[in-house]
């Protein structure tokens, strides 16, 4: 059977937007977090613990981490689309990335919101 090249999946702009928006969220949070850390020098474990007992910081870290995973998903998908020629292998690797990132996302909730 001759395999014809097919294109026309009609998606892409949302992924591209998500990549940019998540990058902006991460950049903003890194700046904010650095300022908080500089404000609490010298840093000790107790100060670290008090910082992370505050709701706003937990929400911030959670947003940062979720942004990171969304960003990583679009980026990894791009890399796999660029370099992996075989559709089967590409699908397998994409599923692997999705499953890992989902697991990390659930794990991050436990780390951030657990005691």
């Amino acid at each position: 059977m001759v395999k014809r090249t097919v294109v026309g999946a009609h998606y892409g702009i949302m992924g591209w937007l998500v990549q940019r928006i998540s990058a902006a969220i991460m950049a903003l949070f890194i700046l904010l977090f650095l300022m908080v850390l500089l404000d609490h020098r010298p840093l000790s474990f107790d100060i670290w613990k008090t910082l992370f007992s505050q709701l706003w910081l937990r929400i911030g870290v959670q947003l940062f981490v979720l942004g990171l995973f969304l960003h990583a998903w679009v980026g990894m998908r791009d890399i796999l689309m660029d370099y992996v020629r075989s559709t089967g292998t590409r699908l397998f690797l994409q599923v692997l990335v999705l499953v890992s990132l989902s697991a990390y996302a659930i794990w991050s909730v436990r780390i951030i919101w657990g005691n």
Partner: protein, 231 residues
């Protein structure tokens, strides 16, 4: 002046090789194409494309010391010796510096590079305001030499799926044209993870374009228009 030129004749050579040439001349204000014509007088087996010899036809695009450009408008004086000439990367070599442009033109044809307007043609021209006409500046000048598309790694990896910078610049040329009525069809056709979104904005195309055009900016405008109609 010393030259090292990529040679390959599929009828006689098992694999490509680099052949050295020497010309006894001062660079002066000569262009690279002038030197290539002198080399061809020495060795008429060397194959290359050329036509207008003034940067308008786009025939003599090649890889010059690692950068894509037109031999006819590249001054010899600015090139480091030995001047290394290779065919455009990412396209099948037919012979020596001559490549098969079909994958490039196939992508170009796929964006429907012509005005689509279903209104009956008016008595005179379809008029545009000076501002509307100005939108086409930096787009219509493209001569389709393929310097940009063949310098793009995304095109090297997916030449059958990614439209490439030249095709996307032309796609935007027709989207930006107020006389064209197929804007949403054109955007639908391009909204594709391979056709448009293999562009990661590394701007090799801008660096390579011998006409000083900016395909990355055109691609950004296409994405911007998609965002405007999506969000």
């Amino acid at each position: 002046m010393r030259f090292s030129i990529y040679r390959f004749d599929p009828d006689t050579d098992a694999s490509p090789y680099m052949k050295d040439y020497e010309l006894a001349l001062e660079a002066g204000d000569m262009m690279l194409l002038d030197a290539l014509i002198l080399i061809k007088a020495q060795d008429d087996s060397l194959s290359l494309r050329k036509s207008c010899r003034e940067g308008v036809c786009g025939s003599d695009a090649m890889n010059i010391n690692g950068r894509n450009g037109l031999a006819c408008i590249t001054p010899l004086s600015g090139l480091k010796e030995p001047i290394e000439l290779r065919p455009l990367p990412g396209l099948p070599v037919i012979r020596d510096l001559v490549v098969d442009m079909e994958p490039f033109f196939k992508q170009y044809r796929s964006i429907k590079p012509y005005l689509i307007n279903n209104d009956p043609p008016p008595e005179t021209e379809r008029l545009q305001s000076p501002q509307e006409r100005a939108e086409l500046d930096g787009l219509y000048e493209c001569i389709l030499c393929a310097c940009c598309t063949t310098s793009c790694p995304s095109f090297w990896w997916n030449p059958e799926k990614f439209v490439g910078p030249a095709g996307l610049l032309q796609a935007w040329r027709f989207i930006a044209d107020t006389r064209d009525q197929a804007t949403s069809e054109r955007l639908d056709d391009l909204e594709d993870p391979y056709r448009l979104f293999r562009c990661h904005g590394i701007m090799n195309c801008v660096d390579a374009c011998p006409k000083g055009l900016n395909p990355t900016e055109a691609i950004g405008k296409i994405k911007g228009m998609m965002v405007r109609r999506t969000v």
